[in-house]
């Protein structure tokens, strides 16, 4: 492998690695958002249950 080939490969690798890192960061953020949505769903469900229990029967 010549020096030019090594440098060209390095340049393309840098671009590829950056895009990959960016996608990884976005995917980690999506995982966090999914967890937060699940937590909020649980919170809303618990609130509805509490409201139903508190409502007068009959």
């Amino acid at each position: 492998m010549t020096a030019a080939e090594k440098y060209v490969a390095a340049a393309y690798l840098v671009v590829f690695a950056t895009v990959l890192a960016y996608v990884l960061i976005i995917s980690l953020k999506l995982v966090r958002l999914e967890r937060e949505v699940a937590e909020l769903t649980e919170l809303a469900r618990a609130r509805r249950t509490r409201e139903r229990e508190a409502a007068p029967v009959g």
């Binding site: 440098y7 060209v8 340049a11 840098v14 671009v15």
Partner: protein
Amino acid sequence: MVAAVALIAFFAPEDADQGLSQKIFYFHVPIALTAYVCFGWGAWKGLLHLWKRRPGADLESYVAIHQGVIFGALTLVTGSIWAKISWGVWWAWSSNQLVLFLVLFLFYAAYFMLRFSVEPGPRRANLSAVYALFGVALIPVSFLAIRLANDFIHPTVFTSNGPQMSGRMFATFCISWAAILLLAATLYHVELAGKRLDSRLRELRELLA
């Protein structure tokens, strides 16, 4: 992106002067032009925020500038690698094009320092929008400086006589730029959707608390 890489590897002819190292051009220049587009888009969204008070324009401006800084950093890194092969040095302070691009990059990198030093709210959005608009003035300076200052180190491929390359090289360049623009647009929309979702979830959490 796959098509662009395939064209660069198999379709575009090797440059008679620079040889294989010229293949960096097909990514380096489109990435630099995309960085300009992102900064321009960020400034346009900043203007919309100040002028029309369009909701969400501030966030769109921020995401566009974030993308621009990422593409700007890639421009500097790929350009530096190309400089090492062609000129034997990683950086040339005597090249106006390089220095002006670095100034533009640092200017927009400082945008984040300004943005995150102000509390979230209308003041932060206004200051960020004004800063983004000031920065956009550097784009034509950076782009035209090399043509006006006769920079002998950094090559000028696009002149008033058209692109200084063969038809196959130009076609490969156009497809590479289209691929990079598409990548930038996709990343912009994904990041923007993530940020909007984040902000709505925060609001929902406050409502449910």
